[in-house]
């Protein structure tokens, strides 16, 4: 072991000749000038402005200007005496928020989903924050202890002393989160195994992994969900009928595992062969080599890909509405048919709320993924 640092220490810039020139940030004036630099550019600017005007103006009018902000029932959101355009009906969202988040989860017990979601947020933050200590432990706790604790909290099985809440009462954001989290928790280890299997020297293992991955990636998620919903009961002994939510989770997890496996395989292939050879030269066995040398590097390399897989998994959870599971989109669809809130804008307000929710979640994740990508690229260029 040498004591020299692996990365050169950054020297403070010397005064005078060698100091770097100030970075030229595109200023406002420069930015504006680019809009009309050439006739073509000016034309494009006008075109972009026109499109933005036609698309943005109705959106802003609907969401803010014409929106109804207060009220107790549908009367507030029906066109009043003024007869003007009615935009989003926000009181409807405010009144229905509890249903959108928890479904029919009993109100007295809603601290339990709250606690589970807080635990989840803490655990994810710990695992994703680049400078957090013991990130490996965070990953482990997310895959093993956390799901068990969350399940006990949410479901309340007999031994826990909590009131049991059957899954048919769960709904809304809670179900969306449960399906996504189970999907990632199952698909990550399963994806690692499948990726290793697909690169294995053993023909039977390789064939089994390849067939599973290709079949799952070749069919639409909806077909997998129908399979989980309609075919899985046929494959099980008579009388054994898993919970509908569990069936859907099996489908989503297996589908996500195949995608995850391909992302991880990319990481395994990107590692230089020397890493495998060095590990073999140290006399490490296959699993030791994988867990101490190969996987830590390969998985770090594909964090952006893993996050992207999770984003599509998160968006894909909306498909469970087709097989009758009450996720956020289903609760919104069901509420929009509630006669107590029947107005011409109820459906569109619900969709706007869902769009904002999904956009914030997915955009935040994609930003994280992009930041990690830059970080990894910087780390790669240093060595």
């Amino acid at each position: 072991m040498t004591t020299t640092p692996s990365t050169p220490v950054k020297q403070p810039p010397a005064h005078g000749a060698l100091a770097r020139p100030p970075r030229q940030a595109p200023g406002l004036i420069q930015g504006l000038r680019s809009l009309v630099a050439t006739p073509l550019n000016a034309l494009l600017t006008v075109l972009a402005l026109a499109i933005a005007w036609f698309l943005l103006r109705p959106a802003i009018e609907f969401l803010f200007i014409d929106a109804v902000w207060s009220g107790h029932d549908r009367a507030a959101c029906l066109a009043g005496e003024a007869g003007g355009e009615i935009g989003a009906c926000w009181p409807y969202i405010a009144r229905r928020l509890g249903y959108f988040i928890y479904g029919q989860y009993p109100e007295a017990q809603r601290w339990r989903p709250n606690a589970a979601m807080a635990l989840c947020a803490l655990n994810i933050g710990w695992a994703l924050w680049p400078r957090a200590p013991f990130r490996g432990a965070a990953l482990f706790s997310f895959v093993l202890p956390f799901p068990v604790i969350a399940w006990i909290l949410l479901y309340g099985p007999g031994f826990s002393g909590l009131v049991a809440v059957p899954t048919n009462l769960w709904g809304g954001v809670l179900v969306t989160m449960v399906i996504s989290i189970v999907g990632i928790v199952v698909s990550l280890p399963l994806g690692v195994l499948l990726a290793l299997g697909r690169r294995s020297q053993m023909p039977v293992v390789r064939a089994a992994s390849t067939v599973f991955i290709e079949v799952m990636r070749g069919v639409p998620l909806l077909a997998v969900l129908f399979m989980a919903n309609r075919m899985l009961p046929l494959f099980l002994p008579p009388g054994v009928l898993p919970d509908p939510l569990v069936r859907v989770m099996v489908g989503v997890s297996l589908f996500a595992a195949a995608g995850m496996a391909e992302v991880i395989r990319g990481g395994l292939q990107a590692l230089p062969k020397g890493q495998y050879e060095a590990a073999a030269a140290l006399g490490l066995g296959y699993w030791q080599m994988m867990f101490t040398v190969i996987l830590p590097q390969a998985l770090t390399l594909v964090i952006p890909g893993i996050v992207n897989t999770f984003i599509s998994l998160f968006k894909d959870t909306t498909l469970v509405t087709v097989v009758g599971i009450f996720d956020l989109l289903t609760t919104i669809d069901v509420s929009s048919r509630d006669p107590a809130w029947a107005t011409p804008v109820t459906a569109s307000t619900g969709y706007a709320f869902a769009a904002i929710f999904y956009f914030i979640c997915c955009y935040a994740m994609s930003r994280y993924s992009a930041a990690m990508e830059r970080r990894l690229a910087a780390a790669g260029s240093r060595s």
């Binding site: 680019s34 809009l35 600017t45 293992v205 290709e214 639409p220 494959f235």
Partner: protein
């Protein structure tokens, strides 16, 4: 080490004898045998359960139901289907609809995606920012939500047939769908069809000939000018020759208001319009990203070298940047086309009769043959994926050969 007490046993001077379970090859065999046994017993167990369950619910396994007559209608499908036709034909009609919607959406998504992808690279800040806003909004919201918005909000808000919106090109848009002009069966149009096929064949032949000339070091043909001319002139000439004159040789029916509805022309159902719109906009955001990264991946030196050779900006793009970018763009692009085709199964949520909504809907409900119907659906999609994968491998091999 004392003599007579060997620490290791040697077998006939062929190296150390390791216990057979320590031998990597033997271990590999054992692991594989265990996996094979596990997989096979899982299948046998599931198969036995299927047999028991089917017997209990009095369903006979088999694909015989495909030939039996169905008792439902399908509206708006390319392959006409009426009650009394077979279930197999219903699935065919669904598959035809899947392909129609997917192909239409692929064309629109590609065009939009290329425009937006290039716009993201524009040095006009407003254009670049608008394009990235487009991409981020469409990419970060679920496709199902977008489809529901198109179908339940945008198309439902359109006026009724009497107040149809007239679009350029004789198109009419109202809450019952999109109406457009359509050719009337006539010798002229048949000639156009035949002429178009001939022209396509001719163009492929010309392209091959041009490629051969280029390999031989001769000047290539100006295909970008010849091909469109052939494709337009040949069908028109064919029509003119059959009908004697172009006037009246190509009759067209135009959509028009008749009573309380629109008649004539061709009708695209609102479900179809919503599905194609949703799929093509959603996928165009992903295609835009692929195009952007493909163009950005072409090294700057390539453009500079082109300029040093005295080429203009147009030829630099056409001859240097685009061919190199395409090599990077096309593999992920086919992936997006496959995704789009798979995503077209979301038609089930808005009631467009595609393969999945017909298969998992009326066919499954009327026959109860869940195992057969869902396996068929999965096999069809799997076949499409494998076919695309084969084409992709062929393309990649061709591209790899082009490198030196």
């Amino acid at each position: 080490m004392k003599a007579g007490k060997p620490v290791r046993t040697y077998g006939q001077g062929r190296g150390p004898v390791i216990a057979w379970w320590g031998n990597p090859a033997a271990r590999a065999l054992i692991w594989q045998a265990l996996l094979a046994i596990a997989v096979i017993s899982l299948f046998v167990w599931a198969g036995r359960n299927v047999v028991t369950n089917l017997r209990a619910s009095h369903i006979t396994w088999g694909f015989g139901f495909l030939a039996e007559p169905a008792s439902f209608d399908i509206t708006g499908s390319l392959i006409p289907f009426r009650a009394g036709d077979s279930y197999g034909r219903a699935l065919m009609a669904g598959f035809g609809n899947t392909l129609t919607a997917s192909l239409t959406a692929i064309v629109i998504a590609t065009a939009l995606g290329f425009v937006v992808g290039v716009a993201r690279l524009s040095n006009n800040a407003l254009v670049a920012r608008s394009a990235s806003a487009y991409v981020e909004v469409l990419r970060n919201t679920p496709l199902l939500l977008q489809l529901l918005v198109w179908y339940n909000v945008v198309l439902k808000a359109l006026p009724g047939p009497r107040q149809s919106i007239a679009l350029p090109g004789g198109l009419l848009l109202n809450n019952r769908g999109l109406y457009g002009p359509w050719p009337v069966e006539s010798p002229g149009w048949n000639a156009v069809g035949a002429g178009l096929l001939t022209a396509l064949g001719l163009c492929i032949g010309l392209a091959a000939w041009s490629a051969r000339r280029r390999r031989e070091g001769k000047a290539a043909l100006t295909l970008w000018a010849i091909a469109p001319a052939v494709l337009i002139c040949l069908p028109l000439a064919a029509a003119w020759l059959t009908a004697g004159s172009l006037v009246g040789a190509l009759p067209v029916t135009w959509p028009e208001l008749r009573g309380f509805n629109v008649g004539g022309g061709v009708t695209l159902l609102p479900e179809f319009v919503a599905l194609v719109l949703g799929l093509s906009l959603y996928t165009s955001a992903f295609i835009a990203e692929i195009v952007r990264s493909g163009v950005q991946a072409v090294p700057k030196g390539q453009r500079e070298a082109g300029r040093a050779l005295g080429l203009g900006e147009g030829p630099i793009l056409r001859l240097i940047v685009i061919p190199q970018a395409l090599r990077l763009i096309i593999p992920p692009l086919t992936g997006q086309y496959l995704n789009l085709t798979k995503n077209s199964s979301l038609a089930v949520a808005i009631g467009y009769p595609d393969l999945v909504s017909i298969g998992a809907g009326p066919v499954l409900q009327n026959t109860g043959q869940a195992l057969e119907v869902i396996s068929l659906i999965m096999l069809i999609y799997l076949g499409l994926s494998l076919l695309t994968a084969l084409l992709m491998n062929w393309w990649n091999a061709r591209m790899a050969l082009a490198e030196r």
